[in-house]
């Protein structure tokens, strides 16, 4: 049985918000009977583009994570709703506006915070994956149709096709530990929820400081080497994908023909070790 999934590439999102705007355009002022009532003019983010900055000036990184309803296989909102929220065979989770009328508590049932309360209409609301359009033959929901950066697409896949895609593209779920089995998969999620250690290597000769290109840099966790790279033309290096608050690391820089130098890092969130003169 095919199910519908969102596939989102964090590295390709640049916060243009076309997804958010297109969603608003589709739903503000439009009721889609059988699917959802209209979205209010302001305040709802059925797809929410979240921003993450990492590092310190000038070695930084910025990434964005579009966050729609996860359309979970094991959705807490469905369980909490007493039949007001259901999951279709194709995986789309829908809130029935009539049955959910007045049930403000359903907003809190979502561990991803993607259900919104519509004060005017007295109903909880969220992303429907534009089911009314998909059912009408549209190939993509509005958000994905408007995404020109290729960061967001909706796909309909058999389980094994999905597994192949996960393996091929290194897809991850957001907070799988919540156990809700989301139908949203992310690529390059580390740009958002992992940390990096970076720095710049330089050499000094005759009072002139130059960037040190091609220096071998190794990252150690305790005594185990867990990463290595070469500095670029600007002497910069970066080890990404490290867990937040993961503590002590050692960075070892090995310039060709001279002695190595070590720098310790206590990693809370992403860190720029600054310029290291070799």
């Amino acid at each position: 049985m095919k199910e519908r999934y969102f596939i989102i590439d964090v590295a390709r999102c640049w916060d243009c918000n076309n997804c958010f705007i297109a969603c608003h355009d589709e739903h503000e002022g439009n009721n889609w009977p059988g699917y959802t009532l209209a979205q209010p003019r302001h305040g709802h983010r059925w797809i929410d583009v979240r921003r993450r900055e990492r590092g310190q000036y000038p070695l930084i990184d910025v990434a964005y994570r579009p966050t729609p309803c996860m359309h979970c296989k094991d959705a807490p909102c469905v369980k909490a709703s007493g039949g007001a929220i259901s999951r279709r065979e194709d995986g789309i989770v829908l809130i029935d506006p009539e049955k959910s009328m007045g049930k403000k508590e359903l907003v809190a049932s979502c561990p991803y915070g993607v259900i919104f309360w519509n004060e005017e209409q007295n109903v909880p609301q969220k992303c429907t994956m534009c089911a009314h359009l998909l059912d009408d033959g549209w190939e993509q929901p509005r958000c994905a149709q408007a995404c020109f950066a290729g960061a967001l697409k909706a796909v309909s896949l058999e389980e094994e096709e999905l597994q192949r895609m996960i393996a091929a593209e290194g897809l991850e779920q957001l907070h799988p530990e919540k156990g809700t089995k989301p139908n949203v998969y992310y690529k390059n999620l580390h740009r958002f929820d992992k940390e990096f250690i970076s720095g710049s290597a330089a050499v000094k000769h005759d009072d002139v400081v130059d960037c040190a290109q091609g220096v071998q840099v190794k990252l150690y966790r305790a005594d185990e080497m867990i990463g290595e790279c070469l500095t670029d033309a600007f002497g910069d290096f970066r080890f990404d994908g490290l867990p937040r608050n993961s503590g002590e690391y050692r960075v070892e820089l090995q310039p060709e023909g001279s002695s190595s130098q070590s720098v310790h890092a206590d990693l809370a969130s992403s860190i720029n070790l600054g310029t290291i003169i070799l």
Binding site: C16, N18, F20, I21, R45, A146, F148, A149, C211
Partner: protein, 987 residues
């Protein structure tokens, strides 16, 4: 005699056609019922005629001459009449006959327009447009400054606006082969966020839905100009409003004389060749005589006032040509330097999202990138590379240091410098410090820019050893750095650096894949600056092509007076000012200083403003609020879509509708004129019929219609409209393009768009400047420079006197060789407002930059209660107000006790603005980043004096000219201080 018989038959046939149309089409019947008119067709000598009597929707006609007709259409001879009466007549023939008085129309404008209407309507009754998509929904088409769109309408209400997906039959996109791969864009269009937000802007609570008058504006008594921006409005009827405006126009002309009426627009308006700011507006104002606002080249500044002296390109305001550089870049380039360049955020200009995928190819091919910008901009975030963040206004120090490394380490193209440039030795002296004792080493530049010497040396070595593209600005000729106090130097330096590296060599050129796609540049569909139906040969680029392509009455302003846009407040408050022209014709055009008032002309007593954008787009903008209180400014009219910004200072407000509520025609990303072939930003050229998707909201009218109504009252309606409606002008425009060779009018209006096919690979344009590099005659499809500017023969060399890249500018040498701000060879200068202006810097230690915004095109997108306000990087909701965002470095925020989303006050001696703080590592310490182009101006107290809550940070920017002998803004050289807002107004 034969002609007389034919004329007689034609008139008889006209009678029959009208009767049949009325019988068949209710709309036509209704139209006929609008007026009772006696219409006389005749020959001028009264030897033949037919009288059409329209009364209560009925038509009677008989041959003969009426004693007292309402409208007379008179022909010199029967042969002329027969020729002009034929369906499919030549408009050129018609215009020529009218100008020779071979055909004359007499009667009231109202009735004449109506008569033209019922005759012309016979040719387009029952037009079928748009596509039925079921459930009572029709899909129309339109286009915007952020891309073309489909518009879904049900029951006269827009239900959705989407990017365009193409059909199978539409042209397939181009394919570029590079490094063993093939790249081709998807077969669909893209749209910018502000394009997709249109529905929320159309159905906005800030829409002006009926004409209004300021409550204490009494044209026959107290006008109370001191209350502009303060007192409220009352609704008036269109009749009242139009009569009032016409009375004021006449009063200004009769009481004060030529030039008393000032008109200007924002530099952007709703899209469409007919409705844009360079079309209907100049056509009307030329016809009444007015003082135009002369636009400073606000996006180009340093390029126009600086770079053009070294490589010409004045037709592009000093920016470069960019033909087929996408292919060259993908094939050969190894490094792209984005210098003050954020094509993602700015879409280049009008480029929708088409450029993004091309930069993804860049990434796929492993082309390295470097970003030079005080802000870690959105292109940098999406395509990371080395980020160098110079202090604002110091970029030219980095330029000199790059040259220093290239010279001392032998990393530049000496042969190119010898053969393709002049004056290098003089600059080299400055670079090496032989003239001033200061070698411009990377270490030296570190003191100015704050960027480590080692990084600049590394960049110089990378750049000097790799085939490098330089993308200076979102498109070539833009960039925030060109709007600093040293913007001329930066732009001049960009040309110098390319002159050292061999501009035009394979893989060495200008661009960042934003321009230069292999679309068909030779298919003629004009851009907006080609003037639409303005007929304005002086103020638009109509003389390039439209004059021969679309015969229409040329229009010319009779007033020789002009006001520089940046000096409007001085012109009104002080009654005098000076400026320099934006003249793209030739390098020396910018040297002609002009004064206001012009000899023998009137001061400004009436300001007819089109839109309300200046508070958020010009500089030191409290001036613009204050000028409205000037007693001698007797009347202010604002024709606008939304009640925002300066619109709230008008005495009379005329509500205009959007381009979704009127007919128009256009191609996005096509400017023409000052960015010829700017559609090479697009992956697909898309000519769009801009359907009238819904009726105008409320009582709003199209700009065309407003000007037409005024024209009728001024007796100039025939001159303005030539008897044609907007729809009919669309057809005339269509006929002027190459579209009729490719698609029928019927199909075009039905389907709504045509994808102009790309040329086959062997007919693609040559790469820009390759001809120059190879020392050949110019072979790119660019009409400029004008023939007279070539010194070694037509299309040989550049526009400069030497025909080469001039390190030492011959034009500046001729104009003022000792001007310390613009020496013929660019030398380092510090900003007149920056860290080096120590006294001011002590008081205001933060440098604010205000680049072109990401989520609003100028002011179009912001405010208006639109969905854009909810975008987290655009505004922040605090309490019940959406605040504009100012970005501050963590260190500076901590020093001031500022946390994310705190309301903060940005201030200096010019004023104060409240914004929401975004605490970020993306701005270099000591710098504040806040976009220009806020649409909302909301002073807490008296306008022009008190703190603004709307977010017009341009209130803080200097009004000093970038260089004295220019008309150039330098908003990115701006010192301010920031503190948490204590909710008190600062005066």
């Amino acid at each position: 005699m034969l002609e007389k018989t034919q004329f007689s038959m034609l008139l008889f046939g006209l009678d029959k056609s009208m009767r049949m149309a009325a019988a068949k089409y209710p709309a036509y019947r209704e139209k006929l019922g609008e007026m009772n008119v006696v219409l006389q067709f005749k020959l001028r000598d009264n030897s033949q005629g037919r009288v059409f009597t329209f009364a209560n929707g009925k038509l009677n006609s008989k041959s003969g001459i009426h004693a007292d007709p309402d409208v007379v259409i008179s022909f010199e001879e029967a042969a002329t009449a027969v020729r002009l009466f034929k369906p499919g007549r030549s408009m050129l023939d018609f215009i020529s006959a009218a100008k020779a008085f071979q055909v004359e129309t007499l009667g009231s404008d109202e009735q004449v327009c109506w008569v033209s209407g019922i005759i012309n309507l016979l040719f387009h009754l029952n037009v079928d447009y748009g596509v039925d998509v079921g459930n009572g929904v029709r899909r129309y088409t339109n286009t915007t400054n952020g891309g073309p769109v489909f518009v879904y309408v049900k029951d006269d209400k827009i239900i959705r606006i989407t990017p365009m997906d193409f059909e199978e039959e539409d042209a397939d996109p181009w394919v570029v082969s590079a490094r063993g791969k093939k790249f081709s864009p998807p077969k669909k269009a893209t749209a910018s966020p502000y394009a997709l937000a249109w529905k929320s802007m159309i159905y906005s609570k800030d829409r002006l839905l009926y004409p209004m008058k300021r409550v204490d504006f009494d044209p026959d008594g107290e006008r109370n100009p001191q209350n502009r921006g303060i007192s409220g409005y009352e609704r008036i009827s269109w009749e009242e409003a139009l009569d009032l405006v016409v009375k004021e126009i006449k009063r200004a002309k009769q009481k004060h004389g030529p030039g008393a009426i000032l008109n200007g627009s924002g530099s952007h308006h709703t899209w469409g060749a007919l409705g844009y700011w360079l079309s209907a507006r100049p056509r009307f104002f030329n016809t009444i005589g007015f003082t135009p606002v002369v636009h400073n080249p606000d996006s180009w500044e340093g390029w126009y006032w600086g770079a053009s002296h070294h490589w010409g390109q004045t037709a592009r305001n000093g920016g470069g040509e960019t033909y087929n550089t996408v292919e060259d870049c993908l094939k050969h380039c190894e490094l792209i330097v984005f210098w003050s360049s954020d094509p993602e955020a700015t879409s280049g200009v009008y480029g929708a999202g088409d450029g993004t995928i091309r930069r993804q190819w860049m990434e796929e091919l492993g082309i390295k990138v470097v970003h030079i910008d005080p802000y870690y901009n959105h292109t940098a975030a999406l395509f990371p590379g080395k980020w160098l963040a110079p202090r604002p206004g110091t970029d030219s120090a980095m330029i000199l240091a790059l040259a220093y490394v290239w010279i001392t380490e032998d990393l530049y193209d000496k042969e190119y410098v010898a053969n393709r440039t002049v004056g290098f030795e003089k600059w080299k002296e400055h670079v090496l410090g032989e003239d001033d004792g200061i070698p411009k080493t990377p270490e030296w530049q570190e003191g100015e820019t704050g960027v480590p010497a080692k990084d600049v040396r590394a960049l110089a070595r990378e750049w000097g050893t790799k085939k490098t593209y330089l993308n200076s600005g979102g498109i070539i000729g833009f960039g925030g750095a060109c709007r600093t106090a040293t913007g001329t130097d930066w732009a001049r330096g960009m040309v110098y650096l390319m002159g050292m590296q061999g501009l035009g060599k394979p893989g060495v050129n200008m661009g960042g894949l934003q321009q230069g796609t292999p679309v068909d540049t030779r298919f003629f569909f004009p851009g907006y600056s080609e003037g639409g139906f303005s007929g304005d040969l002086d103020g638009t680029a109509a003389a390039v092509n439209m004059y021969q392509r679309m015969p229409n009455l040329m229009t010319r302003n009779t007033s020789q007076q002009a006001v520089p846009r940046l000096k409007i407040p001085e012109a009104i408050m002080d009654g005098k000012c000076e400026g320099y022209p934006t003249n793209p014709m030739t390098i020396e055009g910018q040297f002609f200083k002009f004064g206001f008032p012009a000899p023998g002309h009137s001061p400004i007593t009436m300001y007819y403003k089109y839109g309300g954008s200046h508070m958020g787009t010009m500089c030191d903008t409290n001036r613009y609020a204050n000028m409205y209180r000037t007693q001698s400014l007797e009347c202010v009219v604002n024709q606008a879509i939304w009640f925002e910004g300066e619109t709230k200072f008008a005495d009379i407000i005329l509500p205009a509708c959007t381009n979704f509520e009127r007919w128009d025609i256009g191609e996005h990303a096509n400017c023409g004129g000052y960015i010829q072939h700017s559609f090479t930003q697009s992956n697909h050229r898309i000519a769009v019929m801009q359907h009238k998707c819904i009726e105008p909201l409320g009582e709003s009218k199209s700009d065309f219609q407003i000007f037409l109504e005024l024209s009728k009252r001024l007796g100039i309606a025939n001159l303005f409209s030539e008897g044609n409606t907007e729809y009919e002008w669309c057809k005339r425009y269509f006929d002027a393009t190459d579209l009729p060779n490719a698609i029928s009018w019927k199909k075009f209006i039905k389907k709504g768009y045509y994808v102009i096919p790309p040329l086959p690979e062997n007919r693609r344009d040559p790469v820009s400047y390759r001809w120059f590099y190879e020392g050949r005659q110019k072979d790119t499809p660019e009409l400029t420079p004008l023939p007279g500017d070539y010194t070694d023969g037509f299309r040989k060399g550049l526009q400069t006197q030497s025909g080469k890249i001039e390190f030492e500018s011959s034009s500046l040498k001729r104009f003022d060789p000792d001007d310390p701000e613009r020496l013929p060879v660019f030398k380092y200068r510090q900003s007149w407002e920056g860290p080096n202006t120590t006294e001011l810097f002590e008081k205001y230690p933060l440098q604010m930059i205000s680049p072109h915004p990401k989520f609003t095109f100028h002011t179009m997108g912001d405010g208006k209660d639109s969905v854009i306000n909810d975008i987290k990087d655009h505004r922040v909701l605090v309490g019940d107000r959406y605040y504009w965002i100012a970005r501050i470095n963590t260190v500076d925020a901590e020093a001031r006790g500022i946390e994310a989303n705190d309301l903060i006050e940005l201030y200096n001696d010019r004023g104060s603005v409240v914004c929401a703080a975004q605490v970020s590592e993306r701005v270099r310490p000591g710098t504040i980043h806040s976009y220009e182009s806020c649409a909302v101006y909301e002073p807490v107290g008296k306008p022009g004096v008190t703190t603004d809550l709307g977010g017009c940070i341009n209130i803080l920017t200097p009004s000093r000219m970038m260089v004295e002998k220019s008309h150039a803004m330098a908003g990115n050289s701006c010192l301010i201080e920031v503190c948490k807002w204590n909710k008190e107004e600062r005066v």
